[in-house]
């Protein structure tokens, strides 16, 4: 793995330990989320010194990779986020921090302590998300991947929901609310309707999708008919959905009669998504549906007339209208499909293995995380899938990091946020790593100001 040198060689200005950490991180975690990009760098770098005729080609390839490739930027953003995360780990650990009080006397103490706590944290993150080398047996070896996929599935749906709306020129902040309505309907169908297995699951999923679609339709029709801004309306509908959930849980017929707290009856097993790798591993068929949905949305966007309309309206509604495309109809459709996807994301939370009953926090933050996933995935369907995989891995790894290294799960949230911030400012990432394109990017921004 000598090939990581070109990656971590640049952050010179960081203290020595952190450069070291960066190297260890490069070796450890990022291979998880963005497996192919990381693998893409080595082949170009390694043959370069070996053969005489290759260097120019290899160098060219590398240059291109550095300059414009969004994959590179993503990987670098992950690296940067982990660097900042490392600093946070050190600062939040009082024992390690105390070694810094005598850093001038014995610098090795501080450096060693920092190294230990950070490397251990990230090692646990890796072990929880991808693979634990110490694990013995089939189940234990696959457990991290299973966890990652379990967390990934709902994020794919909400990420796709936000991304699709984005492409149609709408900012759907309401994935959270749409997922909430979806989870409610799925759960109610799941415990209230006596249906045979298979059919029951299908009806529950459809109910969730319809619920989300309804919650997307409302801001869609308001936007189309009255021009009411979808951002405001979706945010408001998020509140409505969340409080509706809190209310419906404690209604008789919904609340679990054996419990006094706010929890609904459990979903019948006939309505649950089947587990893929046996009862001991949590990964369920939701991830398969998610991949299917990704494929469908990719087809819809790029290969269908509806997708053509949607993209045209998203990029230039005036030209779309002039070309005879009904902008209002498209807005409504976009929001309905977007809500439908978010609703399916909600269904995943109660029909899968995460939970089997409604609680006030049953869907966690999947709607809001969906916005981050969509941005990280560059609002492209397959990009969203990869981004959701990264977020799922961070979530799964974060759980282990919390229980083994005692580092709070919130760090993962901070990491996710930092990654998105660095992605949102690609010019900054490029500039920090002194990429070739940075000069061009700066020129552009200064011009934009001038005009």
């Amino acid at each position: 793995m000598s090939d990581v040198n070109p990656v971590s060689g640049s952050p010179d200005k960081e203290p020595a330990t952190e450069a070291q950490e960066a190297r260890s991180e490069a070796r450890a975690t990022p291979t998880a989320p963005a497996g192919d990009p990381d693998r893409a760098v080595p082949p170009a770098a390694t043959p370069a010194p070996g053969k005489e005729s290759r260097p120019t080609l290899g160098k060219l390839f590398l240059d291109n990779l550095w300059a414009a490739n969004t994959v590179t930027v993503t990987v670098l953003a992950v690296l940067l986020a982990m660097l900042v995360g490392a600093v946070l780990i050190i600062v939040s650990d009082p024992e390690v921090l105390s070694t810094y009080s005598y850093i001038t006397a014995r610098p090795s103490d501080a450096l060693n302590a920092s190294w230990t706590v950070v490397s251990e944290a990230y090692a646990n993150l890796f072990k929880g998300a991808i693979f634990d080398p110490d694990a013995s047996g089939f189940t234990a070896a696959l457990s991290p991947i299973s966890e990652t996929l379990t967390y990934t599935a709902p994020l794919v749906f909400t990420g796709l929901a936000v991304a699709l709306a984005f492409r149609g020129g709408l900012f759907n902040i309401g994935a959270q609310g749409q997922a909430t309505i979806g989870v409610i309907l799925s759960a109610v169908v799941g415990f209230a309707l006596p249906l045979p297995p298979g059919v029951h699951l299908l009806v529950a999923l459809i109910a969730g999708a319809l619920g989300g679609a309804l919650w997307g339709f409302i801001p869609g029709i308001l936007k189309a008919r009255t021009g009411a801004h979808e951002v405001i309306n979706t945010i408001m509908l998020n509140y409505v959905a969340v409080y509706f959930l809190s209310w419906i849980i404690i209604q008789s017929g919904v609340q679990n009669p054996n419990r006094s707290d706010a929890i609904s009856k459990p979903v019948e097993s006939s309505a649950q998504l089947p587990r893929l790798l046996g009862a001991d591993l949590r990964v369920h068929a939701g991830i398969l549906v998610a991949v299917l949905a990704t494929w469908f949305i990719a087809w819809l966007l790029n290969r269908s007339t509806l997708g053509f309309e949607l993209r045209a309206v998203g990029e230039n509604p005036d030209a779309a209208r002039t070309a005879g495309i009904s902008v209002t109809k498209t807005y409504v459709l976009v929001m309905v499909i977007s809500g439908l996807l978010a609703g399916l994301g909600g269904s995943n939370m109660v029909l899968g293995s995460t939970a089997n009953a409604l609680t006030p926090l049953v869907i966690a933050q999947i709607g809001f995380d969906g916005i981050l996933v969509a941005l990280l995935g560059r609002v492209k369907p397959w990009g969203v899938l990869l981004a959701a995989l990264l977020f799922g891995a961070l979530q799964a790894g974060g759980n282990r990091m919390q229980s083994y290294s005692g580092i709070s799960l919130e760090l993962v949230t901070v990491l996710q946020a930092l990654i998105v911030i660095f992605i949102a400012a690609p010019a900054m990432v490029k500039a920090i790593f002194q990429l070739r394109a940075a000069r061009a990017a700066r020129l552009q921004t200064s011009l934009a100001k001038g005009w």
Binding site: S304, T305, F308, N316, T322, A323, G324, S326, L447
Partner: protein, 516 residues
Amino acid sequence: MEPGEIHALLGENGAGKSTLMNVLYGLYQPDEGEILVDGKPLKLKGPSDAIAAGIGMVHQHFMLVPVFTVAENVMLGAEQVRGRFTGLLDRRRARREVAEVSERYNLRVDPDAVIEDLPVGIQQRVEIVKALTRDVDLLILDEPTAVLTPQETEELLAVMRSLKAAGKSIVFITHKLGEVKAIADRITVIRRGKTVGTAEPSASRDELAALMVGRSVRLTVDKQPAQPGKPVLEVAGLVVDDDRQVRAVDGVDLTVHAGEVLGVAGVQGNGQTELIEAIMGLRPVLAGSVTLDGQAVHGWSTKKVLRAGVGYVPEDRSVDGLVKEFSVAENLVLDIYDRPPFGKGLSLKPDAIAKSAKERIEQFDIRTSSADAAVGTLSGGNQQKVIVARELSRPLKLFIAAQPTRGVDVGSIEFIHSRVIRERDIGTAVMVVSSELDEVIGLADRIAVMYRGRIIGVVGPDTPREEIGLLMAGITPDAATTSPTEGTTSPTDGTTTPTEGTAAPAPEGPGNEDEA
């Protein structure tokens, strides 16, 4: 450049005129070479350096704050402050400066008028005043006449002459040959980023045009006399509001026959845009009727109108005509993407789209690196060709082209014009709306002049320019004095008698009061 000289910079779109001037104004940095001012090399790091060196620029798109007054806009960027610590703006001084400059150079502007209330010509004058208050010796005017009416253009030329008399130098960027000949002392022609020649204003139009495009071009449109057939488009008593709910089209009647070109002339903002948008179903029709081939189409959706065999080149290609982020191929099917062979049911046929794009690119001489390139990367002329190619590649009954050659280079203008005439010759009814009088005269078989939402007269293409110009300014010549509305309906044709009855009273009555 010499003091007191008007130097015209002539070139096609994308020839590098604006880039050169942006370098002069310090917005771009030169890669090589240097700029000499008074014999000294000058290094410009930004517009402020340029202003300090006595160079001012009036951009093609004005850089004014619409809600500020003239005086406030003029002082913007060089605010004078009264009182050392209080930092109050010295509005009075700014007002005085504006008054002084406008008097000295005979540029009439009211310092207290709010920019958004002013007509475009006056806004431009404010830009010039703004530059002059900065004490510039060299003024760069980037395509200043593109947005002006013929009258406003005349006034601008007068202003330029008085500035010249005051010893200021002016660089005048344009691609309109007539203005260059009228005002310039010296002409430099630029093509593909290189100076290809310097000419005297006495050079003929054809010579200049040839220098610009690098070969001889025909400025007049070559065509056979029209053979009009049955009426295809009939508009009667049409009333349409604009975006601000102000009456824009006020009882228009017109007819376009198969196989003829009806040119609609008029200064921009006299209802032409709203008229065609109403025909296309993009704007609600408040009264009156639009009939296409005997079928009433008002109230139809845009898609239905397009499907009925209407081709439409919108006025503003970057806003209404193209999706810039889309590829050339996608833009070529923007309004027929869901029809076979490009789409069937819910699925698109990328192969068919790519194949047809390849044919169109060749057929219409669209210069692009590939069919997959984003259309926004093409030059203006080629973008326009994409739209024309799209609209002309399906069977049409009616072809409406609004400003078909605005901001398009001479070579593409020639090409687009020949395509329009070819469409006429295969029997399509064609309606061309343009604020370029030359274009209307060159293309049209009949010319309808619009003024304040009404058709003030319909004349033949042989009518002298001056007469049409007067009509555009709302002055009906005594010869046709009977009534503007009668002048409208009678030459169109005799068969539309029922429409005349409904239309006549409307435009006569409250129309003008409404405007006033």
